[in-house]
Symmetry: C2
Subunit: 450 residues, 2 copies
């Protein structure tokens, strides 16, 4: 009975899968933050390289992966797909549990799948310098790695709560040559304003985005790159799901349910889109479950509305499930999921009823993480452990009903830089945050008028 | 041009390679610490399970890997062999550089290769509880993982300097259910004596061994397990070299030089023994280079003599390259290499002139680690980076002489739990320690009389 299903480099997908080609209807347009009018490629040119902008509007089902990107992918891809025999045994479930493990990249998560691609396109178009934001540090370290491969300068605005919770994530970025500052910082107007309003602000992904964007537009040689939310980010992550489909085809199973955690939505989308695409084309069918924190539940509690992608209202406006762009999520130990909104494409699918969503409290997340680490061995990132919690729920339901079912989830990264959070959990120091209903209600009064 | 050479589970070796079968002459006997007489199996029974003791005396060239051990190996094995294309380019060398990467195990190093085997044999023989020591925490976390898989209690004496430098290693062990104390501790006579002599003692591997052994012999249900030095540990690690040989055979190359870092000697032995065995049997030939810290240079500066394996003189006496069992190495940021001696089997080979040794200062080690991380991506453990430093030296020599040569080294683990040390290096806070000649001279006056 196989433990892990590995692919050779020859079996690695040569193209990303573009779900736009299979959608029953297109998502609503993205709007300019100042004019409220639909965005065109020219509007995005100050931020992104043209190759990425063209990917946003491409109707092609498959977009070839450039050879230099593929060459770097090969350092850790294809990633393994595991059958969780030991977890199944501990849960005493009739369910079969599979997980795709993206923690084998040098940065320890799925994030390099898009970071490498984005840095490559920037280098091709003569860009010298990159700004970005990072929450838990997963994206910042992935982009630092990518910029290092392609000889680009990199400045990372790191959400302050994570900057202090995860000093080693900062060291990691510096090892790969990046400059890292805590956000809110003194380096931008957005940062200075936030510090003036509250010198002890924990920061948020939204605000860090504002800082990185502001820094970018000041300089001709600089582009701004983003690790989640945008369609092209989701596109680059589809290598995960495509590999997983090939790997599942080497077993006798096909998933009944496919699960991923969601912050901005990219690892979830990366795993499910190829499966969902097959379903949309009339092929095999599965359920798709997005898992978010109870403390920041944009899908299960937010509204589907036009909102800014960032806190300061400089980023484009998109229709998405949102808690309001001014909402500052509690300091849960899963910084990568502390985002007020959800990827427009994921939101669109949710609105169409094609995917489900659920929310989990952090102590349950860490309990699930420990169950996993003590059965499968790998110590998961707290973000990824949200998916584990939901997978365990599905396995328990299968046990209750006595039904066999096949569960597939994305283990999007390892928790080697999150051991401080585990330590807090093991010492009983982690609390669950109630859903901050009043703060969200207030934040939702600040949605842009469109 | 392939980046990594991966094997399927079917290609994984089914047996460990026992170099004893191919040695030109056997190593000197191991002696009882009290009587000075050669040790027999009965003497070791209080410490080790009988299956491991029998492996120490086996004349068989291949010893089958038990199925439950093999099943756990499959969670991360076979590990990849990389061609370091990017490092070669940065060094502008005609040399071909390959590395075997053992950091894909859940504990992040090669150590689980033997931890899993040792825990399995203990469980088979009815043992309930394990004690051990750990330096950098690599071994302690590997054994915690292994004990967790087999339902054994685990108590880890962690060298104090590492306990404080690497708190997350402690968390990792606790995630897998182990109990961890700083050594010297108040839990044993050896620990209390050391604290009385010097309340600020940094600890050492030797002393931590004394504590773990003392704890073990107090209780019937407890065995003591060791992560390096002993012949059976080296045996279990030979899966590394066997896989590497199969992987090299899939390229057009064969190594001219094979390199590994040495603390106790196990990852070095694990990689080189299968290659050396072929050479000893009249097959293909290579050079073998062991790399140690300048601050703890047992091979390049120590003497070849009978000495205790531990600080307190409770462990067996073996002929080895040693700096004296009472020598306390400086607090370099490669805790796994802070051991006063060298594996008797590795020492024997060195004495026979079959292998070479070299020593490196820690700033050069971290400089090499950074060069590696910025070319290949993976952030190496400081211990493993000793091997990188020597590999870079070999590549530079190839460049100077204009000769092609093939270099293979063991990247025995990742540095995800060593980022504090990287941080110190990046901020210019790391110093090199001069070889502590006087302290060694003094320690060598305490060798046992045999």
């Amino acid at each position: 009975m196989e433990t892990k299903i590995v692919l050779s480099e020859l079996e690695m997908p040569q193209a990303w899968y573009n779900i736009a080609a299979d959608l029953p209807e297109p998502p609503p347009p993205v709007l300019h933050p100042e004019t409220g009018q639909p965005l065109g490629p020219a509007d995005l040119a100050p931020l992104f390289p043209m190759a990425l902008i063209m990917q946003l509007v491409s109707p092609e089902r498959y977009i070839p992966i450039p050879e230099p990107v593929f060459d770097i992918y090969r350092l850790w891809r294809p990633t393994p797909l595991y059958r969780a025999h030991r977890l199944e045994k501990v849960l005493d479930t009739p369910a079969k549990i599979y997980y795709k493990y993206e923690g084998t990249s040098p940065a320890g998560s799925h994030k390099p799948n898009t970071a490498i691609a984005q840095a490559y396109y920037c280098q091709q178009e003569g860009v010298k310098r990159i700004t970005t934001e990072t929450g838990a540090g997963q994206w910042g370290s992935a982009l630092s790695l990518a910029c290092n491969y392609f000889g680009l300068e990199c400045k990372v605005y790191m959400v302050k709560v994570s900057y202090h919770q995860k000093p080693y994530r900062r060291s990691l970025m510096e090892i790969w040559g990046a400059q890292v500052v805590a956000s809110p910082s003194e380096d931008t107007n957005a940062g200075r304003a936030a510090l003036k309003a509250n010198p002890n602000a924990l920061g948020s992904l939204g605000l860090a985005i504002s800082e990185a964007v502001e820094d970018c537009v000041q300089r001709e040689d600089t582009k701004y790159l983003l690790g989640s939310v945008l369609d092209f980010v989701l596109l680059h992550q589809t290598i995960i799901g495509q590999e997983a489909m090939t790997q599942m085809s080497k077993t006798a199973d096909f998933p009944d349910v496919v699960i991923g955690c969601v912050g901005g939505g990219s690892n979830f989308a990366g795993l499910i889109f190829p499966f969902l695409g097959e379903k949309l084309r009339g092929g095999r069918s599965a359920r798709f479950v997005a898992v978010e924190p109870e403390a920041c539940p944009s899908m299960t509690r937010g509204i589907y509305a036009f909102d800014y992608g960032d806190t300061a209202g400089m980023a484009p406006i998109a229709k998405m499930h949102t808690l309001g762009h001014t909402f500052e999520p509690p300091g849960i130990h899963a910084g990568g999921l502390r985002y007020h909104g959800m990827a427009p494409l994921v939101s669109h699918l949710y609105n169409l009823g094609l995917i489900e969503a659920t929310a989990v409290h952090q102590t349950k997340v860490f309990e699930s993480a420990l169950t996993f680490a003590r059965s499968e061995g790998i110590v998961p990132a707290p973000e990824s452990a949200h998916a584990i919690a939901a997978a365990i729920d599905e396995a328990n339901k299968a046990k209750e009903s006595g039904e066999a079912r096949t569960i597939l989830f994305n283990l999007s990264g390892h928790g080697h830089f999150d051991l401080g959070a585990y330590d807090a959990y093991l010492r009983g120091q982690l609390e669950d945050y109630a859903y901050p209903e009043d703060k969200v209600k207030e934040a939702l009064t600040h949605l842009p008028k469109v």
